[in-house]
């Protein structure tokens, strides 16, 4: 870093980059943190105390809250939005999301049926 005049321009550039990347404000981080603390506490509370007698409902709520929390982290901490990098970060994330869904759901689906067909006793599933 030499004379102030020489790095005034890069500093401006950094700040303008900062804007296009949508770095969070203190408020944004705190809101994100508060939301994810709540979204973490609720599923742990549900499972550890077993307040909901219905297992199915508990599973659905826990999974639903996890999806919401992932979205909160993506927006509040990873700053993914439609403007960052001309929307390419969002595009890449949506594409990855599709691949992740195919990988996980596809594997579970195929292996479930494979397991079903491997059962020697379960002739009905064949």
């Amino acid at each position: 870093m030499s004379a102030p005049s020489t790095h005034a321009a890069p500093d401006d550039a950094v700040h303008s980059h900062g804007d296009t990347h949508g770095h969070g404000s203190r408020r944004g981080y705190l809101i994100g943190f508060g939301l994810s603390a709540i979204l973490t506490a609720i599923p742990f509370w549900l499972v550890m105390t077993g307040v909901l007698q219905n297992r199915q409902a508990t599973v659905l709520i826990v999974v639903g809250l996890a999806i919401v929390q992932i979205l909160v982290h993506t927006v509040a901490f990873l700053h993914v939005n439609t403007k960052a990098e001309n929307g390419w970060t969002l595009m890449a994330m949506v594409f990855t999301g599709v691949l992740v869904a195919i990988t996980i759901c596809g594997s579970l689906w195929i292996m479930y049926h494979l397991n079903g067909n491997m059962m020697p006793m379960d002739a009905g599933a064949m």
Binding site: P10, V47, H73, E85, M111
Partner: protein, 208 residues
């Protein structure tokens, strides 16, 4: 750029000519983001493997028998706090406050070390009670998935250490800012993966 001496400003100006501003930091951040997405696919595969094997106990212990949710809750809280402390480090960086940036990075690294320590303790006690990765396919999948995440966090801690040295030597120049932004994405990404781990492995595991 013709001179051999290192000058971050020149470097950045040269980049600014080549790239539109909207691409940001010469595409480094987008490139790192693409790496993170490929990392997400690794974790997707490990999640899929765990999902397929998660009921193959081989007569061994089930999740309900071995997972300690209070320990997992503590670990989750530690990682969540480390996310906001890294956020504060980024805010300090944007305000060009070097010492605050380094301070928050140290706090983040300490949280990370706490997280990995608790995880090592958990792994050690699992192995000690005969629930190691060789016990059943379920446990192999569990150790592979959670262990890979823990390894990532460990690498993140090492990276924070490297950045502390870099900041000490060169301060908050353009390239260090770029590196800190990449590390920020890496760290928050690991937190996102952990949401999947504590939900699908631990919480849904003990309900099975």
């Amino acid at each position: 750029m013709s001179t051999a001496t290192y000058d971050p400003d020149t470097f950045h100006l040269a980049e600014a000519e080549d790239h539109d501003h909207a691409h940001g930091m010469g595409g480094t951040l987008l490139g790192f983001w693409i790496y993170l997405m490929s990392d997400a696919l690794i974790f997707a595969t490990l999640f899929a493997v765990y999902g397929v094997l998660s009921t193959s106990y081989a007569g061994g212990p089930a999740p309900r028998d071995i997972f300690e949710l209070p320990l997992v809750a503590v670990n989750t809280a530690i990682l969540l706090v480390s996310s906001i402390t890294y956020g504060f480090a980024m805010l300090a960086m944007e305000g060009s406050r070097l010492n605050a940036t380094r301070g928050w990075l140290v706090v983040t690294a300490l949280c990370g070390i706490g997280f990995v320590s608790v995880e090592m303790y958990e792994f050690a006690s699992l192995v000690a009670e005969g629930a190691g990765p060789t016990r059943s396919a379920f446990l192999s999948g569990f150790f592979a998935l959670v262990g890979t995440h823990g390894l990532h966090v460990t690498i993140g801690i090492v990276w924070i250490g490297v950045m502390l040295v870099q900041l000490g030597q060169r301060g908050l120049h353009v390239e260090n800012r770029k590196r800190l932004q990449c590390l920020s994405m890496f760290w928050h990404f690991l937190d996102v993966i952990w949401i999947g781990v504590f939900t699908f492995v631990y919480l849904l595991g003990v309900m099975r």
